[in-house]
Each structure stands twice: as C-alpha cells, then as structure tokens.
C-alpha cells in the first residue's frame, strides 16, 4: 500500500541539513517543487481525460474515436494542445479587455485549488486544511465568476446568454452539492479530507451511511454533472443554440484554458464523490473479512483513487449520451422543487440515523 508513497521528508533534510540552506529559501524551493509537480499532474491528467472522454463518446456512437496520432490515438490530445498553442489569438475590438483576460485566470485558479485538495493516497495530499472539504466547495465556486466574466466581457449576445444560464445553473446546483457534503460531514464528524478518508478505512461511507448516504450519492452525481456544465445540463454551451456559449469569443489557447478547466472539473467532481462516498484512496474493506481486506490492500491507494475517479467520470459521460438536454425552466425546477427538498429531508434522515446509531 505504501508503494506509491512519496517520501518528501528526505528532500527536506537534504535542503536544510546537507545543503544547509536558510529556512525561507528551503521553503521557497519546496514550494516551487510542489508547484511544478502540481502543474505536471494537472496538465497530464487533463490530456488523459480529453482522450478518455473522446474514446468513450466514440464507443457510445459506434465510432472508433481518435486512432491516428500515436498508438491507439494516445497522442491525439497532445497534438490538440500543440495545435491550440500555435493558433492565432485574435484581438477583438468590442470586448472589455481587462475582464476578458482575467476570466481564464479565475477559471484555472478555481480548478487548480480544488484539485490540490484531493487526496491521492496516504499522506499524498497537497493542501490538508482542517476544513478541507469546505475549502474545496468555496474555491470551486470561484469558477462561476470566471464564466460570468467571460460571457459578460465578450460583449456578444450568445456569450451573455450562455454565461447567465451557466451562472443560474452552477449557483443552483452548488446548493445541492453543499447540502450533500453537509450530510456526509454529519456522518464523518470532520471536514478535514484526511480525517474523512481515515474514517472510511473499515467501510466506505456509501455502505456505512445506510439509505441517506445512497440518496446523497445519487443527488451528488446529478448536481456534479450540472456543476461541470456537462451531459443533459450543457445549456450554457448548447452548440445548436448559442454556437459555443460563454467562450464563443475566445480563440487559440485562450479557449484552451476553459477546455482544460472543464475536464479538470470533471475529475474534481468525481474525486470529491469518491472521497465522500467511496472512501477516497481507501481500498474496498468490509469489517470482519480479513482475507478479502488483505487482498484489496495489495493495490496501492493512488491506483484505487484514480480507478474510482475514472469509473465515476465514466458514469457522468454516460449521462451525456443517455439524456436529452434540459430546458432552463426544467433545469431550475429539477433543482429547486425536487433535489433541494429531497436533500433537506435526507439531511434529517441522516441525523436520525446517526442519533439512533443505525449506521454500520
């Protein structure tokens, strides 16, 4: 289980004792290392996700998907990124320049901060606040600001409609995400990501929490799909109505940032779902089944985490090819008239389960 554990204390002793650096210098170098590592994982994961989604979409539509660049088309997304880099960034005359340039920064920062909170394994976690999961919800809502700014500053009717729809949608479904997280925090008794993982070492929350955890999981998956502007909830960028929604006016790599953040947000949503319901990096354990637990422990935590994320992302992509797009009024009534009351009821149910000790 410790196979993929990174021994970071070794680097620290090397810097402070062997090289005898000043503490502030050592911390700066370590921060740089963390940043570079984060950047690499972030971009590589986004590229893998783009390839993953395209292959799945192709399979759903009985196509082959990308298969020319590299073996099985594996290098397709790298080629795409390079293509985006060499495309011209068009200078528009009618935009609000400052806000237009600011929007991609906000979107990327939001997904980067949320990404850094996710637990990749035992101790393999960059930001570990005692309010970790709360911090995650807080920073991921910065993304809405980026999208609203992008749509507003573009000074284009399509982008304005797209960003307003996106704002209403993300803001509404954030409520559901907040309440499902709250339900699970009740069960865990802590908001720290590492504590939530540790709580699930004997049994995942989806089994531990009885019926309310199951309901919360279903609501979370629906709200998460809406939060990433995907699947049946893709009205902000409904291509048949709004060309490309809020990022219509962005060109080249400027558009690429929104693309990158969208895929990373898909990963973050699946990551949080696996953290709250499927034990984060914890292997599948059942109390009392010692042989079974032992076998499960052979697989490292990071592999478990990635496998859960990819499986949940598969479900979210599956939604997209199963349901037709909703209308804005249907979208809002689904959230406010169905998910929110069910969610509030579910919270009460969870409290009852905890008070009477009905959970496992």
């Amino acid at each position: 289980m410790q196979a993929l554990f990174l021994d970071t204390t070794g680097v620290h002793t090397l810097l402070t004792e062997t090289l005898n650096l000043q503490p502030w210098l050592a911390v700066t170098i370590e921060c740089l290392l963390v940043g570079v590592g984060l950047l690499l994982v972030y971009s590589v994961l986004a590229l893998i996700y783009i390839y993953y989604e395209r292959k799945i979409c192709a399979a759903f539509q009985c196509r082959l998907g990308p298969n020319r660049v590299g073996p099985w088309g594996l290098l397709q997304s790298i080629a795409d990124m390079f293509k985006m880099l060499i495309k011209e960034i068009i200078h528009l005359q009618h935009i609000d320049r400052f806000l237009f340039a600011l929007a991609p920064y906000l979107v990327i920062i939001a997904s980067m901060l949320a990404f850094a909170v996710l637990p990749w394994g035992d101790g393999l976690q960059i930001i570990d606040f005692n309010i970790g999961i709360f911090f995650l919800i807080a920073v991921s809502s910065i993304g809405v600001l980026g999208i609203l700014l992008a749509g507003w500053s573009s000074n284009n009717k399509f982008t304005l409609i797209g960003s307003l729809r996106s704002g209403a949608q993300m803001v509404s479904y954030e409520l559901s995400i907040g309440l499902t997280v709250l339900t699970m925090v009740c069960l865990a008794g802590s908001m720290s990501v590492s504590d939530i993982c540790a709580e699930q070492s004997d049994l995942w929350f989806i089994f531990k929490g009885h019926v309310p955890a199951l309901i919360a999981f279903v609501i979370y998956m629906i709200a998460g799909t809406a939060e990433t502007n995907r699947g049946p909830f893709d009205l902000p960028e409904a291509e048949s109505e709004l060309t490309a929604g809020y990022h219509t006016e962005y060109s080249g790599i400027h558009f690429g940032f929104f693309y990158l953040a969208e895929y990373l947000n898909l990963f973050v949503v699946s990551g949080v779902a696996s953290l709250l319901f499927l034990g984060g990096w914890q292997p599948l354990h059942f109390p009392g089944w010692d042989t079974f637990n032992g076998i499960m422990d052979y697989c490292p935590g990071t592999v478990w985490f990635l496998a859960k994320c990819f499986a949940l992302s598969f479900v979210i992509i599956w939604f997209k090819w199963t349901y037709p797009r909703l209308r804005i009024d249907q979208l809002l009534s689904l959230e406010w008239k169905y998910l929110l009351p069910i969610n509030l009821f579910n919270l009460v149910l969870m409290v009852i389960v905890i008070v009477y000790g009905l959970h496992f």
Binding site: E30, I86, I127, F158, D329
Partner: protein, 126 residues
Amino acid sequence: MISTAIFGIENSGTLAITAMLTGVALVFLALWVAKLISPRSYNLQKGEAYECGIPTRGESMAQFHIGYYLFAILFLMFDVETVFLFPWAVTMRTLGVDGLLCIAVFFGVLVLGLVYAWRKGALEWK
C-alpha cells in the same frame, strides 16, 4: 500514518497560495508561449463579434430575464444558511440533544423560507 505536511511546509496556507500561483503561472506561461509561436495577421473583420456574419444590431450587453436575478437571490439565502449548518455538523456528536434542538429550529426556519418562496411563485420560470 497520515502526514499532514508535504516536505517541511507545515502551513497549509502556504501550499494553498502555491497552488493558486501555479494556476496563474500555467495561464501566464501558456499565453506567453502561444504569443511567441502563433502567427498574427491583422484584419478588421476578424475583430468583430462572432454572431451570424452580418453586423450586430443593438446593444450586446442587453437586458436579461429577471428570473436569473431571483434565483441568485434565493441561492444567496440558502447558501448562507448551509454555511451556518456546517459548524454544527462537525460538532454534532459532542453538542448532543441541546445542539440538535437548536439546529432543528434553525432548520425549520430554512424549510419555511423554501415553502414561502415556493408558495409565492418564486420558483416558477415565467
């Protein structure tokens, strides 16, 4: 064992700022590289709004449906109330029955707010 520190950095705030700066660096570097290697050609038509090919009519920052504003206000109300529920959720087991009763009143007010908004027709998209 769960270690709470990456390298010797014990302060998670430092790491959060690092992650934020990494995001800024990603956008900045990629834009810089793109500006270095991408072609540039000036054309008046390219700088126009991407709509339907003919010049845009009227203001683009137009009036929009009041419903968006209404839902934003509703969200604000409920989100702040969820924020107040979080500290209780963490300390639920230690607060016991007293905490449960207090939060039940608070929760009742929240539900009443939803019922009121629903009855008033604020949740309808007209």
